[in-house]
């Protein structure tokens, strides 16, 4: 059977989750590989969430927030962006492929973009293959 990646995704309540909802209510088809966790703002994404997702077997992690300037809490998505860049640098040092972690802006009207994003990320993770992290972290 073909490898099916699991993507853990953190979507902010105000834009991105609504965008994903729009994709659903508009009956757009997209890859079923995503597991969505709704959070209030992308600024709420503690880097621990991302590291734990990888440790527990996620093949990819996707964070989505409102477009720059649109955050319901003004600055949350900028904070997220800054943390993301540092986190991205760190996971690459640890040998985790950079494409396994993405941050994208999705507005409430961007259902299509969201569906395409999930398809696109799923495809890329299929190329990369299963994440070895969980197995390697186990102590014999």
């Amino acid at each position: 059977m073909e490898f099916q990646p699991t993507i853990i995704s953190f979507l902010c309540n105000w834009c991105s989750y609504t965008g994903a909802d729009l994709a659903g209510t508009s009956r757009m088809k997209y890859a079923p590989n995503i597991r969505i966790i709704r959070i209030m703002c992308s600024g709420r994404v503690d880097p621990t969430f991302v590291l734990k997702s990888f440790r527990e077997g996620a093949d990819g992690v996707l964070i989505c927030g409102c477009h720059p300037g649109d955050c319901h809490y003004h600055e949350g998505n900028y904070k997220c962006l800054r943390r993301f860049k540092l986190l991205h640098k760190y996971i690459q040092q640890m040998g985790i492929h950079k494409d396994r972690l993405r941050l994208e802006w999705i507005s409430a009207s961007e259902g299509r973009q969201f569906a395409d994003l999930v398809d696109n990320m799923t495809e890329r993770l299929m190329e990369l293959g299963p994440s070895p992290i969980k197995e390697i972290m186990e102590i014999a």
């Binding site: 440790r55 962006l81 943390r83 860049k85 540092l86 640098k89 760190y90």
Partner: protein, 327 residues
């Protein structure tokens, strides 16, 4: 009074080292004249840095014979592992003493590579090595006197509690000696001990919470700098001066030894109880402080953090969420 003291049996105490530098054992010696108070209350039954006691003597002890073992050092070879298991069996209380036993410590940085990588560096490519035959340590060597054995070297460095059950942790590189005396006295005088698995000899609050340097509420960073690149005024928060300080992610209790020496905190006391991963916490706090909303500029600022993994997990890589590099 004298009689009753005589009747009270002395505690039996052991100190052992795994993958360690020896500094923890020396920190025990640093109790100076307090050592007499300790030996008044306890007999040291095993302590290789100071006493000539052999493996066989430890093996001959009944299970649970030792009251307290301070185990310092990480686990990186079969001897460390064997001794951890043996001492676990022989001790009523096993304490992970120092950063290496607690979270992996400096030897834990070996988790950025593996056994082959380390052997290649040490036995082939290091500048002072000439080894055209590519000689490697052998587990067994025959000499006229008999067969010699070396322990097997692991790919991963592990913290003590990844190998055996640990009762308490005393963090630090090395732990502050005063804290050790407090912990020891508590055990020796039979004071009620905290519940198992707790960290002793350190606070629950972070370094920043009670740091002696002056901080403002508006912490912003435009540029990260190495300590030698700033003219430290000796007073202002290091982070506010753009120097990475592990204070936000590290337990207090060390007595600000580094800060008092005008050096930023390196994180040897490990994360405070509400922090599950020191690097995640640092990324979170530093991310908040970066003073820019422009993606390009943010990238430039982040690039100035030369080695996030090595900086944030200097003492804690094996004990963190991503405990080794994926090779």
């Amino acid at each position: 009074m004298e009689n009753s003291e005589k009747k009270k049996p002395k505690l039996k105490m052991a100190v052992y080292w795994g993958a360690a530098c020896g500094g923890c054992c020396v920190s025990v010696l640093d109790v100076h004249e307090k050592l007499f108070d300790i030996t008044e209350l306890a007999d040291l039954v095993f302590w290789p840095i100071a006493l000539d006691v052999k493996y066989d003597d430890v093996r001959a002890m009944p299970n649970g014979y030792i009251d307290v073992t301070l185990f310092n050092g990480a686990i990186r070879n079969s001897e460390n592992q064997y001794m951890a298991m043996l001492l676990r069996e022989k001790s009523k209380i096993l304490v992970a003493y120092g950063s290496c036993a607690h979270l992996g410590g400096i030897p834990g940085l070996a988790n950025f590579t593996n056994r082959d990588g380390i052997f290649e560096r040490v036995y082939d490519t290091s500048e002072s090595t000439v080894n055209p035959e590519k000689t490697r340590p052998q587990l067994k060597t025959q000499v006229p006197e008999g067969e010699l054995h070396l322990p097997y070297f692991f790919d991963d460095v592990l913290a003590l509690d990844q190998v055996v059950c640990v009762d308490y942790y005393v963090p630090g590189c090395p732990p502050q000696t005063e804290r050790l005396v407090e912990v020891f006295m508590a055990i020796a005088t039979g004071a009620t001990l905290p519940s198992k698995k707790t960290v002793l000899g350190a606070w629950d609050k972070t370094q920043c919470d009670e740091c002696i340097r002056t901080k403002t509420d508006k912490k912003t960073i435009k540029e990260f700098r190495r300590p030698y690149e700033i003219e430290d005024d000796g007073e202002t928060c290091f982070l506010e001066q753009g120097v990475i300080c592990m204070g936000p992610a590290t337990r207090g209790g060390c007595g600000y030894r580094c800060i008092k020496g005008n050096a930023p905190c390196k994180g040897c006391y490990g994360p405070s109880p509400d922090i599950s991963d020191p690097g995640a916490k640092m990324i979170s706090s530093i991310g908040t402080m970066i003073d820019s909303n422009d993606p390009v500029e943010i990238s430039e600022i982040v690039d100035q953090v030369a080695d996030p993994a090595g900086t944030f997990y200097r003492f804690s890589l094996p004990g963190s969420i991503i405990r080794r590099k994926i090779l």
